[in-house]
Subunit: 322 residues, 2 copies
Amino acid sequence: MTQALISRIFYPAFENAPLLRGDDSAVVEDPGPGRLAVTTDSHIVSPLFFPGGDIGRLAVCGTVNDLAMVGARPQWLTAGFILEEGLSLETLQRVAESMKAAAEEAGISIIAGDTKVAERGKADGLFINTSGVGIIPVGREVGGARARPGDVVLVSGTLGDHGIAVLAARGQLQFEADVISDIAPLNGLVEVMFEACPRLGVLRDPTRGGLATALNEIARQSGVGIHLEEPAIPIGQAVTAACELLGLDPLYVANEGKLVAIVPPEQAGAVLEAMRAHPLGRQACRIGEVIAEPGGRVLMRTSIGGTRIVDVLAGEMLPRIC
Amino acid sequence: MTQALISRIFYPAFENAPLLRGDDSAVVEDPGPGRLAVTTDSHIVSPLFFPGGDIGRLAVCGTVNDLAMVGARPQWLTAGFILEEGLSLETLQRVAESMKAAAEEAGISIIAGDTKVAERGKADGLFINTSGVGIIPVGREVGGARARPGDVVLVSGTLGDHGIAVLAARGQLQFEADVISDIAPLNGLVEVMFEACPRLGVLRDPTRGGLATALNEIARQSGVGIHLEEPAIPIGQAVTAACELLGLDPLYVANEGKLVAIVPPEQAGAVLEAMRAHPLGRQACRIGEVIAEPGGRVLMRTSIGGTRIVDVLAGEMLPRIC
């Protein structure tokens, strides 16, 4: 049965020579010079399909983006499926096709896979792990520890769309919300940013835990403070409305097609221009700056003029959104 | 909570620089010349602990072995955990320590991880995906399509131990079975085999589906037949007894620390000698040979003198043994 799944659903969707060879591991050519980036992410989103995406698109883009966020060019992905007995083949087929489309969009290959089946009630429909390998071109040095006081904080577009879209699909909103998940592969956007600023030092995609968590991580890694301007932070009207009604803070809501960049002030204009010229960065804007003190902290000047600490959440605000 | 898990359990167990940096992907140095091997495996074994191992040791060794089976030197692993709400931290800690020990034994680093939590009843305790990257030294050409008529089929030791050990731990045997899983990282054994025979062409670890499935795959990939001698196939007494009582065929029962090699006849003696000098190959022996016809088929001369076809099973004989 596993053999039939593989040959009927996965091979046609992910057709490529290393996969089709059918050995215990996929073998790919010598990647040439450059360090490697390696990452992994398991996806347990519920429901499997939601406005703007599904678990398959999420699994591909999530891993592509994690690679892009260290300056790597994503190359090869693996996909590990855990199916609950009783999952329809039609569902699996739709997910595989969505993964194929996302892989093409990102320009990567899914070269190795694995399928396990758990008894009914021992898993929830479908879980997908994707792991990935990318190559970091020589000269790129990216990491959360590279923010320096004076640097400018940029974000590529509106925040909170993914988390609210999944909540809405779960029927947890008591009203119609026209919110579509932003899931997208960001590696193309990242490449144009490096063209504009080869010394780009900090990139991060604000997924689980949202912008607040991503910036707190960077502040800690770099030992700097980050100062945000609340009015500058782009949040769509429908997301704002949904968050107000549900008592959620959009700064903590997940995104799957947005990135934060921290760049030296003299290059911020060029990077912003490059981002805005790319389809996934049209609404890019400057939202704050890096400060020396307080180290490890994110502060925000609010719309009404005060300053508050933007802390890390202790629990998870929205479970199973990725 | 995820943050606490990571810093209290996973970081101490998997301590290494790329992981501790805490970026979206782990970054490792330029691997130098050689092709890359990439693989993935999800582990849903039930129960989590069994004689001779646990899900953590299984997850590390399974992926290390998949890399070794294409001639790669395993280097970096990722670990994706899906926890069911309510899993005890003590259990997770034991599994993490077991992974650490297995990683040290195999000489690899776990450089990236991910943790997701599913609600109670939506997963079964703990699932672990491990993906891995290895480097294939220049000159090695290994794959299931490289078996040639006249080649000799070697196996590194007794078959069926892992599958029967897990069954016994599940309480599905009606008697005491002193069977211990054979889980082990095979990359060290593979290296001594390449020293004895640099042109080693076919390696495979007979995991899910056992020896029969592994050899059928190779026969199909190479377009050759494989002829086995039943009396030569090493199977422990306890496994033989358990299989007889349960109506299982040990050729289809999973192994997690054994390999099959197919080598040119003039090098079989040297490879066998090298295997027997290694702790994981002491019971290595010759079990058959590659024949030209019937292509894609595995035949076996049985102990009573007849010849039978060793086919691929349609379903899975023992679910959730890996």
